[in-house]
Symmetry: C2
Subunit: 498 residues, 2 copies
């Protein structure tokens, strides 16, 4: 190893440690912090973030990266580490600090205004600050890459390499298949009894069942913990401290359980990172879309499927008496219940979810190209909602104001949810092609060889490969929507006897 590379890794390790500290402070804030400490926590977090920013923009770090960028003695992992660090440094150095401050302050104000506007169901209260947030995001994009479309630069924050030019045809193809499929589900006569989904299950019972399933998925409690929180998340501090949270809705045991499986999918990705490189950028999860692929693979491909429940349904029946006489097939229809009349993205099922995302993507894209004005968002929202799902939200609170993302200035994030679903289907298809015994093993309650395949092809790879290269190496081809489309078509055709 060269002296320069050794110095680089030391500097990057310090940055990783500081990011991990932010992870612990944030977890603490959500889960255990006394309410009176909020102001002090704000100061602690911003101090650590300022320190991290100073180190990330330190001239010596830029100098080391410049030296190493074309160093032929680096191996591929080291070169990838340099590439990842360079991307972080570019963003940190190119965005002027007055813009960082304005973004931060406007996001805080935006969130406050959004909370009020949503309460009052009035988008126009939110419109002025949203306009500011869009302008600031445009300025930021221009600072990072003045020659690229702003929205492509924003997409890059969450899904490096992704562009509108690639998303447009993928989303067009999704609409082409999903819209008629949803219409057929809507027309299906045989709507099963679903009242049992709302049966009361005490949180403690749910916790016991949930913990057992989390453990069976391979989550390592010696390198993590499970707590409850209003908004479930996967946080913590690096691969040896991966903390998940969940919420036990006592009148929606199934959603609580699959939500927990979702967070466990994120956690398995984090715990599966290359421990020998845990303090370096190259071991980091590749992107938001790939992260979401891991949560959705476990939540949807696995825990919405027959094989998984062949293993776990008997336990569930034993714990929840009201399931004792319910056949597995009926239960699976409940797990996969499609509700095209739902307005809310986070409550959406597997089939309609992509349309909630596409709607948001198209609005963001048109906002940043200048084709759409902020004040016209509610109209654009309703038109698209009618076009895609045939429904009209009664007010802004369950329409254009339902998501928190824009209030914090996060534009370009939404596509990752559906990219995650597409990656998940493509990964699962490839894993089963390589290990055809996966479903049979899941039906026995065993996560191997599925978990092993994910470890080798996704978790351990980290950011060694860029996204496309990772997907090609894992599945033999670039991302496309066909694995997802054939999976949902087959599944819902069967479940709804279309």
């Amino acid at each position: 190893m060269t002296t320069a590379y050794a110095e680089l890794t030391q500097r990057l390790a310090d940055l990783t440690a500081l990011e991990e500290v932010v992870g612990i402070l944030s977890w603490d804030q959500e889960i255990v912090m006394p309410s009176g400490a909020a102001d002090a926590r704000g100061r602690q977090l911003s101090t650590v973030q300022v320190v991290a920013h100073e180190r990330l923009t330190h001239p010596r770090l830029a100098e080391l990266l410049a030296t190493l960028r074309h160093d032929p003695t680096l191996d591929t992992t080291q070169a990838a580490n340099v590439r990842e660090a360079q991307r972080d440094v570019n963003k940190a150095t190119r965005v002027p600090s007055h813009l960082v401050r304005a973004l931060g302050e406007t996001a805080v104000r935006g969130h406050e205004v959004w909370v009020g506007a949503r309460k009052n169901k009035d988008f126009q209260e939110f419109a002025p600050v949203l306009t500011e947030l869009v302008d600031l995001a445009k300025q930021r994009a221009a600072a990072i890459a003045p020659d690229r479309p702003a929205y492509d630069v924003l997409l890059d924050d969450y899904e490096p390499g992704m562009t509108m030019a690639r998303l447009d045809p993928i989303f067009a193809r999704l609409k082409e298949v999903l819209l008629p499929l949803i219409a057929r589900v809507r027309a299906a006569k045989d709507v099963p009894d679903m009242t049992w989904l709302a049966q009361h299950v005490p949180a403690e019972n749910q916790r016991q069942v949930g913990e057992k399933i989390v453990r069976s998925m391979g989550y390592d409690f010696s390198r993590g913990r499970l707590d409850t929180s209003v908004h479930p998340f996967c946080g913590g501090a690096g691969p040896t401290d991966v903390r998940i949270t969940t919420r036990y809705n006592e009148n929606a045991f199934l959603g609580s359980l699959t939500g927990l499986v979702h967070e466990t999918g994120h956690a398995l990705y984090e715990q599966g990172r290359d421990l020998s490189l845990a303090d370096q950028p190259v071991s980091r999860p590749r992107s938001m879309g790939i992260h979401e692929s891991q949560s959705l693979l476990w939540e949807k491909q696995v825990a919405h499927g027959r094989a998984f429940w062949q293993a776990h349904y008997p336990e569930l029946q034993q714990s929840y008496g009201f399931l004792q006489d319910k056949p597995l097939d009926d239960f699976l229809r409940g797990v996969n219940y499609v509700n095209p009349n739902n307005f809310i993205r986070v409550a959406a099922d597997e089939l309609t979810y992509p349309l909630h995302v596409i709607l948001r993507y198209e609005i963001e894209r048109d906002l940043f190209s200048g084709q759409l004005d902020v004040r016209d968002l509610p109209t654009a929202w309703k038109e698209r909602m009618r076009g895609y799902l045939g429904i009209t939200p009664p007010d802004d609170a369950v329409g254009v104001l339902q998501d928190v993302h824009w209030s914090g200035g996060a534009f370009g994030y939404f596509p990752c949810y559906t990219l995650g679903a597409l990656y998940a289907a493509q990964f699962y298809q490839a894993a089963v092609a390589e290990h055809p015994e996966i479903p049979a093993r899941l039906a026995e309650g065993a996560v191997e060889p599925l978990l092993g395949w994910l470890r080798r092809n996704v978790h351990q790879v980290g950011s060694r490969l860029e996204t496309d290269a990772l997907v090609v190496a894992a599945t033999g081809r670039m991302l496309d929507p066909e694995a997802f489309l054939s999976y949902v078509t087959a599944k819902f055709t069967r479940l709804y006897q279309l």
Copy 2:
């Protein structure tokens, strides 16, 4: 406010935030961290500490302090803030980094070796690394103040301003009164039945009773929390996040409860700090001895006294059935039970505790003056234990190896425990002189006006005054042992009918 002073407070606020971050990381490590995260936590902590050290030794900070040290426009609080910051800077800049590293590494090794030696009950296993630790502490003292006795410099770490010249006569006076008093207690015939102290009380019952008492003392749960841990402590991050822990020993409910009161005393001090200056050194608790005075005042003066139990004993009787027929007087003798045959400092009662401390002080003093060699410690220990308490520890594990302090290089800490007891007695005496109704109010379950007196005279003062000035302002005289001695003499003469 001058520009220089404004810049100083900003730099000090950043340092405070970093210290608070260390507080949260440490609490997390003890209470919620998964075991597998230990190595990562070590890296996170050391990164934050290195950052803090860099900022504390930054030339600009020294420059600002030099400018402000003789600035006549500063008010007394500002001047005190400069003084406190200067002391931190002096220590950080005068100790060379190679020595800091050697101290840190040797302390880690020292702790490991001590654990093994204590297990094997063999001091000589520990002697070599203890010798290294003593040498390093001498080097450190010489770096900070080459013209002062090393042990005085070490005392200053915990109790600024304290010296051997002041401790020697105070401790001599304690021995003069306590030794004959203990002999009379030992000779007392009327030893009460104490088996009820070991009655089994489930942890959950203890928690309910404990929480109620903690609340009644004025502890604010919106700015803190109460958890359980093997070694109880008061930690957290500044006055709005004061976290206490306790241990519920199911066969020693009373010790668990008074231990909890002790930590609550520390916590009240932290919560009582001047919130408008919470991010500045001037609001910090004055010293270890003053901190211990707050825990001991509540634990001993208050929760070992009749007035407090007049208020709380009926609740306790209601919760713990076996106390129902036990008169308050018998209960109070249990609370104040003296056991001169106890070898262990942390298990010692109020009367014998100072002798455990004096023994350690004398050994440390003689070690650093060169009068005593490390290898002769067990002999010195046993001789003094025989001289003071008339007992000989059967082995090193319950003798010279019982405390963790030396294994981490903490020399000069022990005297603070007894200084705390002396300050506590002197403060309580002064508070009652000013508010004679304090005992009657305590007997009604009210902590006012005692808490108000402490807030005004100790908590809010913080480090505005140096220790002696604080004590004089609060009590009208310098620290002396007479308040403590008359208090214990009166109390134990009465309890043991001497």
